[in-house]
């Protein structure tokens, strides 16, 4: 079972590195969106620090959504999804592997580059650390929840907008607590509470979402 998990991750990585353009897209999107805000609003340090949590988190959230509709699409189109269902390994494990590799491939680069963005928004070190921690705990939840929507809309023609409509409501708590961590850091409060809640969401998402994703995939493989 563990072996199948790593095989899927392996395969996703080798596929991703053969289409490097796709890999860079979310990262470029994240950097462009966040660097436009100082130009559009104000270069003033105080204002930048004020808007930084919201801008960084919204950009990270949209970057996650950006290629989410493709998460299961190619597997659906070439029949790999059918083979995954019939592989004899519980589908939820394989679904979790897909989500993990998606997170590693799209969110991790984004988290790595985020200190640079924090630097552009003139955030102090303490808040940069808070941002890193919140992104580290929050983005996997975004991927897990998003994968449910992606599984439900796999094989539908206009899945992009529908996926956004389905998933955005579920992103609200993560957005609130993710930015909450950063706002608490900026106002010199303890952000351990919000961080712990994000951690709780993460545990909940990792345990429950794969089941929902697997159930959705079993249905949607027949579209």
């Amino acid at each position: 079972m563990l072996k199948s998990f790593f095989i899927i991750i392996c395969r996703e990585f080798s596929l991703a590195f053969r289409a490097k353009q796709e890999l860079i897209n979310p990262l470029v999107f994240f950097v462009i969106v966040t660097s436009l805000f100082p130009l559009a609003i104000s270069p003033d340090t105080k204002i930048l620090q004020l808007i930084a949590p919201g801008v960084i988190w919204v950009a990270a959230l949209l970057a996650t959504l950006l290629s989410l509709d493709k998460l299961f699409k190619s597997d659906f189109e070439d029949g790999s999804l059918e083979q995954m269902i019939l592989s004899g390994t519980p589908l939820s494990i394989l679904a979790l592997a897909k989500v993990c590799s998606y997170w590693l491939l799209t969110s991790i680069p984004l988290i790595i580059i985020s200190p640079l963005i924090a630097f552009m928004f003139q955030l102090p070190v303490r808040e940069t650390i808070a941002m890193l921690l919140s992104l580290l705990l929050g983005t996997p939840v975004l991927c897990c929840l998003g994968a449910i929507g992606s599984a439900l809309t796999v094989g539908l023609r206009s899945s992009g907008i529908l996926l956004t409509l389905l998933i955005l409501p579920f992103y609200v708590p993560i957005l609130i607590f993710g930015t909450g961590v950063m706002i608490a850091a900026i106002t010199e409060l303890s952000y351990a509470g919000q961080l712990a809640l994000l951690g709780a969401f993460l545990v909940l998402a990792i345990t429950l979402c794969p089941l929902a994703i697997a159930a959705a995939l079993r249905i949607c493989v027949n579209y």
Binding site: L152, L162, L165, P169, V172
Partner: protein
Amino acid sequence: MIMKIINIKNMRQFIHKWGSPKYFYHYAGRLLPWFCIAAISLFSYGLVGALYLAPPDYQQGDGFRIIYVHVPAAFMSLGIYSLMTFAAIVGFIWKIKLSDIIIKTAAPLGAWFTFLALVTGAIWGKPMWGTYWVWDARLTSELILLVIYFGLIALREAIPDKELAAKATGIFTIVGFVNIPIIHFSVYWWNTLHQGDTIQVFGKSLMAPSMLHPLLAMILAFIFFFGIVLLMRMRLEIIKRANKTLWVREFLQS
């Protein structure tokens, strides 16, 4: 132990009996007049009580009377979602067709009640808060609920195969139900302007009885009204789906 097994068997039979569209169609038809009587009498008591008998609020004047629509609508918006989730779970366990008919026909009604709660909330907000829309916790979570309802309806419309659509929406309904308390709680934590709970099931209500009783009557009236519309829509949907079966053909000819 044996008793338990028998009970489970009976339960399954009971659910399958009620879940069979034909049986349901006839019983729903018999229930409808009673629901109408209940709704009309509750509405007349509730409305007279709400608009005439209840005294004006000492702070909010006559403006408060909108709660007689706002609170029941908000109650229904969540209540209908719970009903749909219950139907989805029953549908997954016992695989009965009726549960999907409930989800399909109740979703637009839920969206309407949510919309009504939002609109009445906005109208009420203008004199109370000085603006139609504030990012208040309850209003926001109600708005998110509306988006979830839209998502449900859109998902069903997007999937061409009806049975797959039924299964997919069932999953989404349950996922949404798990998320609603989390969303509600986080939005609440984020910002709250809304007044606290006025009605408390356990413990003393903060409302005068002359104001409270019409409100309870209105909530019940809304429930019965929803029941009437739901049953009518379900009956129509049953006929649509089963238009090839023998009993529907016989029924339509007669």
